[in-house]
């Protein structure tokens, strides 16, 4: 199919697919899944349409975060190979359109959540959007190597919101689910940032490998994996889940720790020799999906 070079692509109305791309659909899948699990393990079963709406609101809020993040980081994204083809740095969309889309989507998701479920869930959804955009994207990310440690809280909200949407209150189990994702985020992102370090360095983002070096980052990955594993088995040890979850979580955490130890032992500085980091990154995504799926299965077996 022949392509047409336009003098100024941003002067055209943006393609609707570029609005979808602004929402970072791949990141959204994990957010939606963890939110769904929070909702499914709650002791109260919402009507199907309200459950669907709650998950839809979490997805839309995640999309709003993605759009506002890309609007704010357009200059940074243009400097990184991984992100240079996004709609804004590629010049396929006016920044103003992305900003309006992000604010509109975020506001709509919060209002719909409040109307369909309850206003505590809506307030938490709003807090998670503001935390991601203002605390993580604007404040922490360009300033400190601890950006992902504190900013990880934004991604940890969905299971808590899912639970609150169903029950109307906060409890110990969803707080543990929050802690699991919060503690999982640093090893997950640091594994990625090791093999895309040059991208972050070129964009001036102070990710840990850029600021503290490879060895220190690998050491931190292993250290952070320990409390993450402890948080993952805590629901079983505290009697909130059954043995199905306990055994599966223990095995999943053991494999995570082995892969994190392999990363800690690696001395490579070239991305081509970072198989251990790439394996840990890929496994960390599977790990979170599997852990939450097993939690839902365990709770359903108990009922």
């Amino acid at each position: 199919m022949p392509t047409l070079e336009l003098s100024n692509p941003a002067a055209l109305p943006a393609d609707w697919r570029d609005f979808v791309a602004l929402t970072k659909p791949r990141v959204m899948s994990l957010v939606v899944f963890s939110g769904l699990c929070g909702l499914l393990v709650a002791p109260v079963q919402l009507p199907l349409v309200l459950s669907f709406t709650a998950i839809l609101c979490i997805a839309l809020a995640a999309g709003a975060c993605g759009a506002l993040n890309q609007w704010y980081e357009v200059d940074v994204d243009a400097k990184m190979r991984r992100t240079a083809k996004r709609p804004l740095p590629a010049g396929r969309m006016e920044p103003q359109s992305a900003l309006q889309f992000g604010i509109g989507l975020g506001g709509f998701s919060v209002l719909l959540m409040g109307l369909a479920t309850n206003w505590l869930a809506a307030a938490m959804l709003l807090a998670s959007i503001l935390f991601y955009v203002l605390v993580y994207t604007v404040w922490l990310k360009p300033r400190t190597a601890q950006n992902i440690v504190i900013g990880g809280a934004a991604g940890a909200f969905p299971p808590l919101i899912g639970w609150v949407a169903a029950t109307g209150h906060v409890a110990a189990l969803p707080l543990l689910l929050f802690a699991i994702i919060f503690l999982w985020t640093p090893p997950h992102f640091w594994a990625l940032s090791l093999f895309v370090r040059s991208d972050y360095a070129a964009a001036g983002i102070p990710m840990l490998p850029v600021v503290a070096g490879f060895e220190s980052t690998r050491h931190q990955i292993f250290l952070y994996s320990l409390p993450m594993a402890a948080a993952a088995v805590a629901p079983w040890l505290l009697g909130m889940t059954g043995p199905v979850y306990g055994v599966c979580a223990s095995v999943l955490c053991f494999v995570f720790l082995v892969l994190a130890a392999r990363v800690a032992a690696n001395r490579a500085t070239e991305p081509s020799a970072m198989d251990a980091e790439k394996h840990l990154f890929a496994y960390s995504v599977f790990y979170l999906f599997a852990l939450f799926a097993v939690l839902v299965a365990d709770r359903w077996l108990a009922w």
Binding site: P13, D15, P47, V49, L115
Partner: protein, 43 residues
């Protein structure tokens, strides 16, 4: 070139209008079922 750009603008406007109509339609259906579920819960 202006004519080609004009065609692209029209095509994108048509596509965006179609997507918007679908989303609004879906929203109306969703609101209907939310209303049914909420009133059903309070009975």
């Amino acid at each position: 070139m202006v004519k080609v750009e004009d065609e692209i603008i029209r095509k994108r406007q048509r596509e965006r209008a179609r997507v918007m109509a679908l989303l609004l339609g879906a929203f109306v259906v969703l609101l209907f079922f939310i209303t049914i579920a909420k009133t059903g819960m309070n009975w």
